[in-house]
Symmetry: C2
Subunit: 615 residues, 2 copies
């Protein structure tokens, strides 16, 4: 069983970022749990590695960094250096066990530098590579791929209906998913309820920690997400010509640290910068924590609090015992679920990217922690995939195309199970229509990963919103099963037959000994049967060196040769060990995959303003 | 546009029954709207038509009533007669416009007699035809077809998870549904959100009327469905040996009238029979109305009340305009949706039959009310299906196998669109594994149908719970579109090009007239061009009788023969009429279909207690 460094705090350490396009992944485990009051440690991921003037050179750059456009790299060089210097500083501070406050400060600065580099990279990318989002969305809505739900009642933000074409596309995407994963990998698909009683989500940490800070207009009650509003307010102040350079620097510092503020610190900043409601100019309440789950009451009594699930994964963990039994008690095995999840966003924006109800497809691959090796990894080892490792990110480097096998061998990807799923996810996304040159896998940095996770990679696509996370793939160790087992006192473990160390004894050739010693043979046989291993080892050495050894028993001497006796090695299965499986979790946001496909396939005919979607 | 007899009251008139197996249909339109305080008028449907000793004779009976087991029919004959007599009485009262109270009383008695007949029929059926439910459910759970959700947390009643085999079966059932309906009928599939803002469900009537009465234990707050509890209490009293015959008759009367009581009457009965909590013996609160929708709050402000949808249909109605546009403005067309709906049952029982979260598949077929004819009806007209018409039910007769074409021709089924869907539903259910001899279509009786619906048939399967509704198929007229149009002021109509009545004029043969009258021909032509239809009719008659007619113009006479002139009939499209389409709604409860398949395919090997499911 893998140890969990700190089960109680482990869950608190995943956090969203302040960039909508990253945080808004329809429930990918790496982002939903945003701690209130605990220091958020997740970095942004808006960086781009495609900074070339045309696709050809972008491709060349991706395939190894050759033929880069010199002038662009010239602009980026100092920014890359700044990230690298800060990355080195963070590493040194950690190595020296520097005070946490110093490390956090340095990490925040590292993130800020990364963000500036990434923004510059995106700004320098060729303009013709960016889709005209307004035109695209207009086309999609006109042809009823999707549209706002309840439109004739005024609509509800964050809720969308898929029309006939969108629905057909979604069905196809899910059908391919089932073929590619469930069928090819022989995964156990299950179908759990969305209604979830409170104790389950209390255990998972969602009741306490799945929240964002918000402020309210004191008069009309309009709500705003605190970090979004503060950032927009500061940007407005900074754009004022009268704003001094000194003030600007100060405010830039606040934006940089946005993820790190406690509830009280945020409250103070709202006072300090005199933030009012942007719609009415009214005063605002201090920031309060708002849980992002939809609450309801199950049954008529009003005493069974429930929520709409924020992810499908919990249903799989709760059914672990039944699934293990279904798999005849053996590890590894995987279970999966396709279904809707819900997130009560404070102010949903960004169309299909940030919604309140969304379809997910999640796999939980349960594996013996001591055998984290995938037997089929060789099938994907030769794939060349754009990887943006943690190290590259903290060194100011670009994402690089790498052979998957090399990435696992070099330890960039923690183990071959994770590596296998990264390969399979890649193949799936290409199959359903994501553009190969707009897809990368970004590794979470140390400071954005939960304690219990040992490695985590997000599949990200490049869109007009920047790089957005569409699939998460995390090694979550044994955290979830352990939490539920503790809460319910039901052991969620697999039994693993334990083998005794290899042992050995004499194997006598009854015929040969009998032939040599006739009726005394029995004595020699009895003697050989009860030797201890130390003695056997010594005699084996003699047997190998001299071809014989001698024993004495009941006053008689026997010379035993190689044809009469040899040493047999064997192993016995004697005990059973309980093992809490580790979990590798690929988690797909179907709406975001669809959106990526829209952007990657939308074209406007040359010299023709009529847009077309080749679907 | 069809008139709606009473739009405000129409919705209130569908109600559930007191039998779990009927009411619990996972949202089939015909049952969910249970009015509080309004007289429920839906009959029970536990009747069975299979009262034979073996399948062979059951089949013969179904195929026309021959070869019936005489002794059983002897037992049933007086019961059938009793139903028929009461049915005649109800018809007479209605014909005489008798006071409503008298009609209601007679209808209640009719229902009671029907129920007794049905119970007897079921009791007389061969025992080997009934599945051993305990064994079957044990097998299904052991093999993880499905099991209670959140079991390691103690479970939540009415919530089930489907395991690998159940989930695969469900996927297959849905996949066949898509092929059979969406693809073969070219239906527009859409995918709407489950979260629904309150105004939508206020309009549809669910906020006010989708409720059951419940009573609460005054001390521990435990809740009971009022009608279920009262019935169980009375049955217990009646089973007491000391209970007088007089008392028994009285209580039987109460059970018979159960669906008809108002909130106050129910309250009085609870006092009169001194009903206490069956678990604790504590006092109970008076019956209160409990809305069956799960309530939640959308967005952070707490001011947008929302619910989890109780049916998928509303999403289709709200998207009507977009769908019509998608179909290029033309009727008829159909839209469909597959997805989960929710119903917060007071005390869910009966396993998969009555659950709080369930998957539905609904079709809304929009059709011009003046053209309720299905072009493909002939494809299904020759199907022989067991139909249990309203008339048969009120006459004490059995269900009868009928040719679908005959049922439509004879007006038993209202129109060929409804008939077509009944045929298609039948074919679908047989295809996925429902037993042909345990499937019937039962027509709603006048007094269980909403005012706005002109015909409604339920597909029912025979199970160990009796006959249960698994698909509803209703002609809902224009009710839903009209409600939403009124509430939103958005016209939900289709435009229908109007044709002028057939009109006619002279068609002159310019060449022939020119040849005959040279330069004067022009005069004749001008004259012919401006004749009124009355004059044309007269001259046409002459032309047909004499082969010629004569005209005079500008002092000149022209004799016109058949080769010079004829009368041309034509039609012009001049205006556009707005039409509110009617809706035919087949509505499938997927969980109930699955459950029926389980019962219809479960076998225990002869001489072997090990059960098998041939799936």
């Amino acid at each position: 069983m893998l140890s969990v460094r700190s089960a109680t705090s482990a869950l608190l350490l995943r956090t969203g970022t302040q960039i909508a396009t990253v945080r808004a992944v329809p429930r990918v485990r790496s982002s939903p749990i945003r701690p209130c009051g605990s220091p958020p440690i997740r970095a942004l991921s808006l960086s781009g590695c495609l900074c070339k003037k045309n696709k050809r050179s972008a491709w060349l750059e991706m395939t190894g960094g050759q033929n880069m456009d010199g002038s662009i790299e010239e602009v980026l060089a100092p920014l890359r250096l700044a990230v690298k210097e800060q990355g080195d500083l963070v590493r040194n501070l950690k190595a020296e066990n520097a005070p946490e406050v110093d490390v956090n400060k340095a990490v925040a600065e590292l993130k800020a530098r990364k963000r500036i580099l990434e923004a510059k990279e995106l700004a320098l990318q060729p303009k013709d590579d960016i889709v005209d989002r307004t035109k695209m969305e207009d086309t999609l809505k006109r042809r009823f791929f999707y549209d706002q739900a309840f439109a004739i009642y005024g609509g509800v933000s964050g809720l969308y209906d898929f029309g006939p074409v969108g629905c057909a596309l979604k069905n196809n995407i899910l059908q391919v998913w089932r073929q590619h994963f469930i069928q090819e990998e022989q995964i156990l698909e299950i179908d759990c309820t969305m209604l979830t009683p409170e104790p389950v989500l209390k255990t998972s940490g969602h009741v306490d920690k799945f929240a964002d800070y918000m402020v309210k207009d004191v008069k009309n009650g309009e709500c705003f997400r605190a970090d979004h509003l503060l950032k927009a307010h500061l940007q407005k102040l900074m754009s004022d010509k009268k704003c001094t350079a000194e003030k600007k620097t100060e405010m830039e510092g606040v934006i940089t640290q946005m993820d790190n503020y406690t509830q009280q610190e945020l409250a103070d900043l709202f006072v300090q910068y005199n933030v009012k409601s942007p719609s009415t100019g009214n005063d605002l309440t201090p920031p309060i924590s708002f849980n992002l789950m939809f609450q309801t009451s199950i049954g008529p009594g009003g005493n069974m609090q429930g929520y709409l699930r924020p992810e499908t994964a919990q249903g799989i963990f709760l059914n672990f015992k039944r699934l293990l039994e279904f798999n005849q008690g053996k590890l590894p095995f995987a279970a999966a679920q396709i279904g809707n999840s819900f997130r009560n966003e404070i102010s949903p924006r960004s169309g299909l990217i940030r919604v309140r109800e969304f379809t997910m497809a999640e796999i939980e691959h349960f594996v013996d922690p001591n055998e984290k090796v995938h037997s089929k990894f060789s099938n994907v080892a030769d794939l060349e995939i754009m990887l943006y490792s943690s190290k590259a990110q903290t060194s100011g480097q670009s994402a690089q195309i790498m052979r998957l096998g090399d990435a696992v061998e070099q330890g960039i990807i923690n183990n071959s199970v994770l590596g296998y799923f990264i390969g399979r996810i890649y193949l799936y996304l290409i199959k359903v229509g994501v553009a190969k040159d707009k897809l990368r896998f970004r590794q979470h940095m140390d400071n954005e990963m939960a304690h219990y996770a040992c490695d985590c990679w997000d599949a990200e696509t490049k869109t007009s919103y920047g790089w957005i996370e569409i699939v998460g793939c995390a090694d979550r160790s044994c955290y979830d099963l352990l939490c539920h087992a503790r809460a319910t006192k039901v052991p969620l473990v697999a039994e693993k037959p334990l083998k005794e160390p290899i042992s050995f004894n004499f194997e006598a050739n009854k015929g040969a000994i009998g032939k040599a010693y006739k009726k005394d043979a029995k004595l020699a046989m009895e003697y050989l049967a009860i030797c201890d291993e130390c003695y056997i080892t010594e005699q084996e050495k003699l047997l190998n060196e001299n071809g014989e050894f001698t024993i004495e028993t009941e006053g008689k001497t026997f010379k035993l040769t190689k044809d009469m006796v040899n040493v047999k090695r064997f192993q016995k299965t004697l005990h059973v060990e309980e093992v809490v499986p580790n979990v590798i979790e690929p988690s797909f946001g179907i709406g975001r995959i669809m959106y990526s496909i829209f952007e990657h396939t939308f074209r406007i005919r040359e010299g023709d303003e009529r847009p077309t979607l080749p679907l």
